[in-house]
């Protein structure tokens, strides 16, 4: 079992007003799964992703990651887990400006234990998203689809267990979007766990399992039949 959430509750306090964002979430994720978390905005799906991705802590409940309870880890230990085991892909790419594609991909390695071979690893990750020939471009000189592929390479470079993709196609046209989804599918085929967060059922249908969340509660958790799955073809751009 890779991820096990038990009775996760998340409340936000704002003065006297308490907002219950996550109410008693129970969820398990096996290694190699491709899950989509869907729900309307305000449903708590982003908070759930942040909690699973160690960017946020639950108010109560237990989170067991790779068999270990993460309750007592401090901020720095969480940072190490994020660096080692988790790769993030965001809707707005979040590449560093005035920095080359290659250096953007190297960035997570600078915070890792590995002190050598950064450039080699970054080039391998760029090859996996088919952007080797763009590696010396500045991050503002490439298209949106290419930016998101750089972000995927950056998420891959530390060889994480899980990749979180938060609306990865939200800022892309359909062509670039399907290229990005194709890459995620391939990564899953190679055995990597993918957790996709989206409000778009068409995007979610790329996955093998859809978890629907509404008002902070899981309202359905179903497998996607192979005949219903959408597959993107890679389109070069």
């Amino acid at each position: 079992m890779l991820i096990e959430l038990k009775n996760i509750v998340k409340n936000y306090e704002n003065g006297d007003v308490i907002t219950h964002v996550l109410k008693d979430i129970n969820l398990t994720v096996e290694e190699g799964e491709f899950i989509a978390i869907i729900g309307p905005s305000g449903s708590g799906k982003s908070t759930l992703m942040h909690t699973i991705g160690f960017l946020d802590r639950p108010t109560s409940g237990e989170y067991i990651f790779e068999g270990e309870n993460t309750k007592d880890l401090d901020d720095d230990q969480l940072a190490v887990i994020r660096n080692k085991h988790i790769g993030f892909v965001f809707q707005s790419f979040n590449l560093l400006p005035r920095t080359s594609v290659l250096d953007n991909v190297i960035l997570p390695l600078l915070y890792s234990d590995s002190k050598i071979g950064h450039e080699k690893k970054a080039k391998e990750a760029l090859a996996a998203v088919n952007l080797t020939e763009r590696m010396n471009y500045m991050s503002n000189q490439i298209s949106g689809g290419q930016k998101q592929r750089v972000a995927i390479a950056r998420a891959l470079v530390c060889n994480p267990k899980v990749i979180f993709a938060d609306e990865p196609t939200g800022n892309l046209d359909s062509k670039s979007g399907s290229t990005v989804m194709h890459i995620l599918e391939n990564l899953n085929k190679e055995g990597r766990t993918i957790i996709l967060v989206t409000h778009d059922l068409n995007v979610a249908n790329h996955s093998k399992r859809i978890v629907t969340i509404r008002d902070g509660e899981i309202v359905s958790d179903r497998k996607v039949e192979e005949k219903d799955r959408v597959h993107s073809k890679q389109i070069e751009d």
């Binding site: 942040h50 991705g53 960017l55 946020d56 901020d75 720095d76 940072a79 190490v80 994020r82 660096n83 080692k84 790769g87 993030f88 965001f90 979040n94 560093l96 005035r98 920095t99 250096d103 190297i106 960035l107 997570p108 600078l110 915070y111 890792s112 002190k115 050598i116 950064h118 950056r154 530390c158």
Partner: protein
């Protein structure tokens, strides 16, 4: 190491992408550090000038001035206040070998302004009335002729030695030896009433060009025997200044004590607190002069320090702007595994790079300005040494790094504390 290098690369790139803003930010540091360098250079230059002036006098000298003074300050007589406690019989007592055994020569002096008349020429200058032992006490080199002897001095012969500038002004053809030069008696002389008249002297020597020694132009004066200057020109019975030469530098302190003891006996002083004279050696004189330049340096360093603080506040301000501009970047870095320490160090490092480059530019401009000042001082005729001590540069580098740490810490901690989710959502 690779991490560190790429950190430097990123930082420099970030700073260079906003050249104008970066330069304005570090301007305060540049000015502050340049100030420190200039002050230290001028301090050292002034010190060497003072030392040069004082040591030109000759070594192993002890000076006696009328009037009491504390350890660090000059006596009142230096400021032109006439104190009449030092008399000729005091000089005779000091000259007594039994009283002050290590003194090899003693010269008493009085000074005054003088109007010289030679034929139809006249010239305003100063006269120094002293003993024939003066050349034994102080470095005197003669261009022509000789200084008056002990006997001529004691007898009060009407003889005169010209300073170099006086000689060239009055006798442009160099035919001064043996000529008669008159000094007008000043009309404030209490011994003479009505028409003051003048006293004639025969020129027996010309001093070599000496320049300034102890901040006095040695070339714009004439020397005459002590008693004529004291009695006939000034109409006084006291001594303004007494200088002794000691046989060996080891005996200077002993001689100071001997002179003080003799003068206390002469003046019936029981308690050294009640001294009406000051005995000093050159070490004391140097101490006084350096304490004056030292005080000035401290004052100016304070000004430079204020400039550094203002510059540092500028750095803090711009670092706070940078942190808020790059909030999303901080969020991303945290999401991919940067710890609080990583983020804090990144911004601290950026602020140190800022202040250190300001420091380096400040050092360069400080050295340039100090050099120009030294050139100017030399042009104005001072024997000014251009000195940049390695200490000053080390201090400047250290201070600029310290400024970066002090004023970069708050923005860096603020960046480190950002919540990654909030930071990622920041617009």
């Amino acid at each position: 190491m690779q991490n560190f290098l790429s950190e430097i690369k990123t930082t420099v790139k970030n700073l260079l992408s906003r050249k104008g803003r970066t330069f304005l930010t570090i301007l305060g540091i540049i000015i502050g550090v340049a100030g420190v360098i200039i002050i230290m250079s001028l301090g050292a230059g002034a010190q060497s000038l003072v030392l040069g002036q004082v040591t030109k006098l000759g070594t192993n000298l002890v000076g006696v001035l009328p009037g009491k003074s504390n350890e660090n300050g000059p006596p009142a007589s230096v400021f032109g206040i006439q104190i009449k406690t030092l008399k000729l019989r005091d000089v005779e007592a000091i000259k007594d070998k039994g009283n002050v055994p290590y003194a090899t020569a003693v010269a008493a002096t009085v000074r005054g302004s003088a109007t010289l008349i030679s034929g139809r020429e006249s010239l305003d200058t100063t006269f120094t009335a002293t003993d024939g032992s003066y050349p034994n006490v102080q470095n005197v080199e003669m261009e022509k002729g000789q200084f008056f002897s002990e006997e001529e001095g004691r007898a009060g012969n009407n003889v005169m030695v010209l300073g170099y500038d006086v000689a060239t002004n009055l006798f442009p053809y160099g035919d001064e030896l043996g000529k008669i030069v008159k000094i007008k008696i000043p009309n404030n002389n209490p011994a003479v009433t009505g028409d003051t008249g003048s006293i004639p002297f025969r020129v027996i020597g010309v001093q070599k060009k000496m320049g300034t020694v102890a901040f006095q132009n040695q070339d714009d004066q004439v020397f005459i025997p002590f008693s004529i200057g004291q009695r006939q020109l000034l109409g006084i019975d006291y001594i303004q200044f007494l200088r002794l030469k000691v046989n060996d530098s080891q005996n200077v302190k002993t001689t100071i004590d001997d002179v003080a003891r003799v003068l206390r006996e002469q003046h019936n002083i029981k308690n050294p607190e009640d001294d009406d004279f000051s005995v000093r050696d050159l070490v004391d004189a140097i101490k006084i002069l350096t304490s004056i330049t030292g005080t000035l340096s401290i004052f100016l360093s304070l000004m430079a320090g204020i400039s550094l603080i203002v510059g540092g506040i500028g750095i803090m301000n711009i670092m706070l702007v940078t942190v808020s501009e790059r909030t999303r970047e901080i969020g991303l870095r945290k999401a991919i595994g940067a710890t609080k320490r990583n983020i804090r160090n990144q911004f601290l490092f950026e602020s140190i790079v800022l202040t250190l480059s300001g420091g380096i530019l400040g050092i360069i401009s400080g050295i340039l300005i100090s050099y120009l000042i030294a050139l100017g001082a030399r042009f104005a005729g001072y024997d000014w040494a251009f000195i940049i001590s390695p200490m000053a540069i080390i201090l400047a580098v250290f201070v600029s790094i310290l400024t970066g740490v002090i004023f970069g810490l708050y923005p860096a901690l603020k960046a480190a504390k950002l919540d990654p989710i909030v930071a990622l959502r920041y617009e």
